[in-house]
Symmetry: C2
Subunit: 132 residues, 2 copies
DNA sequence: CTTAATTCCTACTGGAATACTAGGAATTAT
DNA sequence: ATAATTCCTAGTATTCCAGTAGGAATTAAG
């Protein structure tokens, strides 16, 4: 029952982006947040594919939020980097599991999704970023 | 973001136990639910340690619920077989992560826990068990 | 028009967690 | 006595995910 590291890192990275309207390079975020730059690349490619961020290539390039911070929710982030939220790996051939899914897991999923949607980047107080 | 297989199997097994006041053997549950009997043994030993079920050893032995179905929640089951629910593997040395945990993850955890506590075995309509 | 800094793309590797198996001892109803 | 069961301890297999790697493409700046 875990939110992935990808979601955590992505959230932290997007919070950094939300502090600037100019492109920020992966290396800067990586340094500031102590997250592997290579790993952040993977994450950013997904965030970009989901149109949460845009990029500028080349020297002085970097990433910018594609939306207002208030329009990016934890759910958007999780969906982007981890795909659809699934609370259980049910065996869809098993009627007992189908039953449990419908009765229990699906409602939990819906509750969680609604809650994650309700938390946007502005709902998280700005972290003191010291320098960037 | 997954509920474990252990929790799913345990829930299904306890639902079976809730249909009888006589001991039911692992083999019967295993056959009915198509769950490995050996794996169920592991799960039942945890459920027993948490006093959700009691056992009778020997020939004609088996397991019985130790409480009324209405007094066993999905949370109890999850806690028993998987230990405390933790929504994120945060690095406790990292202040950024501590911050996110406090702001976001902890509230999600609490929401989930409350919800899982609110679902007891009677809240799940009885599955048609055909024979047992 | 070269250089340095960056994103972009595709794939691979390592390790941890978890699902599942195995052997045999202890217990007990019949 | 026997057969059926739980109990205990340990092992194996598999899957998932975090993290790494190399190098191509792009571009600002001098």
């Amino acid at each position: 029952m875990k939110l992935s590291t990808k979601t955590r890192y992505a959230t932290r990275a997007l919070l950094v982006l939300s502090t600037s309207s100019n492109p920020i390079a992966i290396k800067d975020i990586s340094d500031d947040q102590s997250i592997s730059a290579r790993y952040l690349e993977n994450i950013f490619s997904k965030l970009k594919a989901s149109k949460l961020i845009t990029s500028s290539i080349g020297n002085n390039g970097g990433y910018i939020l594609a939306k207002k911070p208030s329009e990016i929710s934890i759910y958007d982030i999780s969906l982007s980097v981890d795909g659809p939220l699934q609370i259980a790996n049910i065996n869809t051939n098993n009627k007992h599991e189908q039953y449990l899914y419908k009765q229990i897991y699906n409602p939990i999923e819906e509750l969680l999704i609604e809650y994650l949607k309700s938390i946007d980047l502005t709902a998280i107080e700005t972290i003191d970023l010291e320098s960037i």
